[in-house]
């Protein structure tokens, strides 16, 4: 049994939460640069250039990438052989509270759908846990803003609509969202499971490595086709028109009921803030 102190988790998560709000990962920035070269219109190019300039400024650690520093989402993988000194929830929320204060991040969480009182420290985080073999601890975290989250959908399709039905829902969703979710976006899709499972695997999809390769050839093909079709829509950077609407499409799937075909589409804006922590 490996005992993990709460402080170990708090310190590591706090650091990662602050870092992700100030720095985009290199592979995403590289794709933005390529997207800019690929645009024809000056307007579309200049918008991507502003996004690139913004991340250069944010990197210095003074101004966060975006003022919507989001609600924190945590996917935790906990080894069977780990004994936590304190409940995970309390360590994660302590880390969030400290990070949002010390990192000068905006507190965007309210307590209730109608009271809407700010909780003052951006807690609680949204935490998903998975038990895995071994004595390791792994956290995938994201700061998820509302602009793109508000344009995300879950829809229960009927199985007979097949691939074409799924494609239509995805393409229509991105088209209707237009510039609102801050394109260029990453499109995370969850196919199957049930209502909540589809949403969960869609969120996991936007956290996948941009350069990974879907092992399921049918889903890989669908990712490629949707990438082309979404970029052919002409929505463009921030909706002003252009060739770059999405940077990547990632699809996860799960078995489902014979009568169901749940589809969740989770959109990630170009302020693609995420980190991984392994303890």
């Amino acid at each position: 049994m490996r005992l993990v102190q709460s402080k170990t988790i708090v310190d590591a998560l706090k650091k990662a939460i602050i870092k992700m709000n100030y720095e985009l990962d290199n592979s995403f920035v590289a794709r933005l640069r390529r997207a800019k070269e690929n645009e024809d219109k000056d307007l579309s190019k200049s918008i991507i250039q502003e996004i690139l300039d913004n991340q250069e400024i944010a990197k210095h650690g003074e101004y966060p990438l975006c003022q919507d520093t989001g609600i924190v989402v945590v996917f935790a993988e906990i080894g069977f052989d780990v004994k936590l000194q304190e409940p995970l929830e309390s360590s994660v929320n302590t880390a969030v509270s400290l990070a949002y204060k010390e990192g000068f991040l905006r507190k965007s969480v309210v307590n209730h759908p109608f009271d809407r009182k700010n909780t003052q420290d951006n807690t609680p985080a949204i935490i998903h846990t998975k038990l895995v073999p071994g004595d390791g601890l792994k956290f995938k975290i994201a700061a998820k803003g509302a602009g793109s989250e508000n344009m995300s959908v879950v829809k229960m399709l009927t199985p007979t609509v097949g691939v074409e039905g799924v494609k239509k829902l995805v393409v229509d969703t991105i088209f209707n969202a237009g510039g609102k979710p801050c394109p260029p976006i990453i499109v995370g899709i969850g196919l199957g499971g049930n209502l909540e499972k589809s949403a969960l695997i869609a969120k996991e999809a936007i956290l996948r490595d941009l350069d990974d390769y879907n092992p399921d050839p049918v889903l890989k093909k669908l990712e490629d086709e949707l990438y082309e079709e979404i970029n052919a829509l002409g929505v463009g950077p921030m909706g002003v028109g252009g060739k770059t609407t999405c940077i990547a499409v990632k699809i996860n799937s799960y078995p489902m009921h014979i009568a169901s075909l749940p589809v969740a589409i989770n959109i990630q804006c170009h302020a693609n803030r995420h980190e991984e922590v392994i303890l």
């Binding site: 502003e50 101004y63 602009g147 237009g178 002409g234 002003v240």
Partner: protein
């Protein structure tokens, strides 16, 4: 075309704007988003003159010591579509946000000779460098959503909708 303008913004100035034009704003502008709009529409004596005013849809991050403000990019404008209409009727001239807006909003914007500008969403660090000072002037209890008076210099925007029906956004009907 490029315009460098100083607030307040006159009706004649707005008439010279065309969708897609670059606009650099200097002078005083005011922040307001969902909750501040709800209050402003019934507030008969706000602490700033709505006539020819500029409202920026933003909820900044807290400033680090020595800085006037934190990260300050635009929020999605569509949430203020209906709430902006009574303010335009009271003289509000310019709104800055991100993303497209409803048909009703655009009609009312044109009727009132107001204009909607966009700043690039998600570039709060870049835009913060154009903000020289910030102070809360109304609704302090709203925190980041309180009305702030900002003094800006060459704050970069694009004309999103002009008063002649032009739009910067991709053409949904054509696609």
């Amino acid at each position: 075309m490029k315009h460098s303008v100083v607030t307040p913004i006159s009706r004649e100035m707005v008439e010279s704007f065309r969708a897609g034009d670059r606009v650099y704003i200097s002078g005083k502008i005011y922040t307001a988003r969902d909750q501040a709009h709800l209050r402003l529409i019934t507030d008969e004596a706000p602490n700033f003159d709505l006539q020819d005013a500029v409202i920026y849809y933003v909820g900044p991050t807290p400033p680090r010591p020595g800085n006037p403000i934190g990260s300050s990019g635009p929020t999605s404008s569509y949430r203020m579509d209906n709430l902006a209409i009574p303010l335009m009727k009271r003289g509000l001239r310019v709104m800055i946000g991100k993303g497209d807006r409803s048909k009703l909003f655009i009609e009312e914007m044109i009727n009132n000779r107001a204009v909607y500008l966009i700043a690039t969403g998600g570039t709060g660090a870049l835009l913060a460098s154009c903000i020289k000072s910030s102070r809360v002037i109304m609704y302090e209890d709203l925190g980041t959503e309180a009305v702030h008076e900002l003094i800006v210099e060459n704050f970069p925007c694009f004309v999103a909708y002009d008063i002649f029906g032009g739009s910067i956004f991709f053409d949904k009907d054509k696609s």
